[in-house]
């Protein structure tokens, strides 16, 4: 637990420190980018006072932390809206995309990885390994662009843009269908990207388990190959839980570029938009929210672990 509190504090402190350590003054990052050059000294003073930037650093830090506790992440320099509102608008889209991709890639990647390890050394094994290594080596945004070319350009069966239809499709089933249609390609892209990685983890995890003594024992008992492998799979699943949690940050990174390609209105696309418009408060807010999400995923895995693995429970009790 202390570990996660520490990570959270580091993320918060980084967010506080970056604008103050970056070239220029913090003010450069708090006014709309096109006004930075023309701002007058009096206006400068006003901005300083408004954001409490003339106070001692420690007090600024304290005010910053207090603000975050109250859900105050500042205002967008481009839209003038509270950053929190903008983030909360985008969050559900990213949650659906990331959650869906994790679940799907787990089924596909881990399934194929276990199969590959179970029949290690065969032709399919090497073929699978090379295939998934290739899949893991392709830039996610590039896979997304190619899928767009195929499905929206040539086949013209899926929309190119966004997550909601531009013209109101009414509510209910029609809207659900429209949204699902637009979710499909980003979801497929992110799933493909993650499946490659999970294949490799699942494969090496099961391969490791299959060389253990209890597998020899199971074989000696005369169990069928299927049941022997089943023994291994149960244990090989455990490191996968950790892998998914540890890699939550990576999925979020992948989502950032994939959302950008598909103009999907999640947090990743928001990051891209604020990079282009130099909207620093939004950029920082988005990073903070993603960091909190990743920390929460890790914490969740830690809490789940004793539930799945009795051995961890036993260790904790001792």
């Amino acid at each position: 637990m202390a570990q996660y509190a520490l990570v959270l504090l580091v993320a918060l402190s980084l967010n506080f420190a970056i604008p103050r350590l970056a070239p220029g003054t913090p003010i450069d990052y708090l006014v709309p980018s096109e006004q930075v050059a023309t701002i007058t000294p009096e206006q400068r003073e006003r901005v300083l006072a408004q954001f409490g930037l003339e106070k001692p650093l420690l007090e600024q830090y304290w005010l910053y932390l207090a603000g975050i506790v109250q859900g105050d992440l500042g205002y967008s320099t481009q839209q003038g809206r509270p950053v929190v509102d903008m983030l909360l608008e985008r969050l559900p889209w990213t949650l659906v995309l990331v959650g869906g991709a994790i679940a799907l890639s787990l089924v596909i990647g881990a399934g194929a990885g276990f199969l590959s390890a179970a029949r290690r050394g065969g032709q399919t094994e090497v073929g699978g390994l090379v295939f998934f290594m290739f899949l893991d080596s392709m830039p996610p945004f590039w896979i997304g662009m190619l899928l767009l070319v195929l499905f929206s350009g040539y086949l013209q069966i899926l929309p190119v843009f966004g997550a909601l239809p531009l013209t109101g499709a009414g509510g209910g089933f029609g809207l659900t269908f429209e949204v699902a249609q637009r979710l499909l390609l980003p979801l497929l892209t992110l799933t493909l990207v993650r499946a490659g990685w999970l294949f490799l983890v699942a494969r090496s995890s099961l391969a490791g388990e299959l060389s253990e003594d209890y597998i020899v024992m199971a074989e000696a008992k005369g169990l069928s190959r299927r049941r022997v492998v089943g023994h291994g799979v149960r244990n090989a699943l455990l490191p996968l839980v950790t892998a998914v949690a540890v890699e939550a940050g990576t999925v979020v990174g992948g989502a950032t570029v994939v959302e950008t390609v598909f103009s999907y209105p999640g947090l990743g696309r928001l990051i891209y938009e604020s990079v282009l418009s130099r909207d620093y408060p939004v950029l920082q807010g988005a990073f903070l929210l993603l960091a909190v999400g990743v920390i929460a995923a890790n914490l969740l895995a830690d809490l789940l672990y004793p539930v799945i693995d009795p051995r961890v429970r036993a260790e904790g009790a001792r």
């Binding site: 570990q3 996660y4 990570v7 580091v10 970056i18 970056a22 070239p23 990052y29 290594m133 893991d136 080596s137 392709m138 830039p139 996610p140 945004f141 590039w142 662009m145 190619l146 767009l148 070319v149 929206s152 350009g153 990207v193 490659g196 990685w197 490799l200 983890v201 494969r203 090496s204 995890s205 244990n235 455990l238 490191p239 950790t242 892998a243 540890v246 890699e247 939550a248 940050g249 990576t250 979020v252 990174g253 992948g254 950032t256 570029v257 950008t260 990051i271 891209y272 990079v275 282009l276 620093y280 920082q284 988005a286 990073f287 993603l290 960091a291 920390i295 672990y305 693995d309 961890v312």
Partner: protein, 294 residues
């Protein structure tokens, strides 16, 4: 197909790309910064891969971009490997409170979402290649550090290290003369993997428009292609496909090379170490080649 063969394929491909990068001015038919064709020109004999939105020859762009992509990958990997190896060796050899503090730091870095953090850093620090290398390098050394540390933990217990310490060798001497040579294969494998990760991260950051606007990498070419919606016209074939193929080819070559190296490290360590520590169940195994967008 063995790991060695994969390793050879990887090495050969990489050498090809390095040659292309070194001899870019000779190989490229045009200066990629000049307007030499009609904007959005389709491929022709004069311009094999057509031209981009401002009329620059895409083939020449690709060849010159290999310089930036490879340089960022290799320089970043050097930085991250040196950092990771130093922290790993010191931490694993000294153990105790130093180890505790360093590994806590490693855990913290590993728990942050890398790409969003890099985006924030790159956006604030300004877009140039040096910043890009620093931003990537200073975040990705943590994983190699942890792997190297766990190896050092077992190497430090082996006979010759104990003997050297019994004879009064200083910590620094033991670490450099006795520990480092033994973990070199692992460090090499980590270098390859780090290069792999950095090339992918550079491509992602460049794709998001965070690279030096005056130096194009493969990711930056794709940024412009995406911004101009090249994938909706036939242009995807010569504007979107080739840069992505280059990235994938280099990254998979590094992955193949890393796979071959790790296979050798494995067998070598098995033969020299009495009994390596069994892997803890609650630690995720590190798969070969994987995990590029970290």
């Amino acid at each position: 197909m063995s790991g060695t063969l994969l390793g050879r394929i990887g090495a050969a491909t990489l050498i090809l790309f390095v040659v292309a990068a070194v001899f870019a001015p000779v190989l490229a038919p045009y200066d990629p910064t000049l307007r030499t064709a009609q904007p959005f020109a389709a491929p022709s004999f004069a311009h094999l891969l057509g031209a981009n939105d401002v009329g620059q020859d895409i083939l020449s762009e690709l060849i010159f971009a290999s310089r930036l992509s490879l340089t960022v990958g290799i320089v970043t990997a050097c930085l991250a490997t040196v950092l990771g190896a130093t922290v790993g060796v010191v931490s694993g050899y000294l153990r105790g409170p130093v180890d505790g503090v360093l590994m806590r730091g490693v855990d913290v870095i590993l728990s942050l979402p890398f790409l969003p953090l890099m985006i924030v850093l790159a956006a604030f620090l300004g877009q140039n290649t040096t910043n890009l290398i620093l931003v990537i390098g200073l975040l990705i050394w943590a994983r190699p550090a942890r792997l190297i540390r766990s190896q050092v933990l077992s190497v430090r217990e082996s006979g010759h290290v104990q003997a050297a310490r019994a004879m009064g060798a200083t910590h620094g001497y033991v670490m450099i003369r006795h520990i480092l040579p033994r973990i070199t294969p692992l460090v090499a494998a980590q270098f390859v993997r780090t290069a792999n990760v950095s090339i992918m991260l550079e491509a992602s950051l460049a794709f998001l428009g965070l690279s030096d606007p005056f130096q194009k990498s493969w990711g930056a070419i794709l940024f412009y292609a995406n911004a101009r919606s090249a994938f909706l016209a036939d242009a995807w074939l010569w504007w979107v496909l080739p840069p992505g193929l280059c990235i994938a080819a280099v990254v998979v070559s590094f992955a193949f090379l890393g796979y071959a190296l790790e296979e050798r490290v494995d067998s070598r360590l098995r033969s020299i170490l009495p009994a390596s520590e069994p892997q803890k169940d609650n630690e995720a195994p590190t798969p070969v080649g994987g995990g590029t967008l970290r």
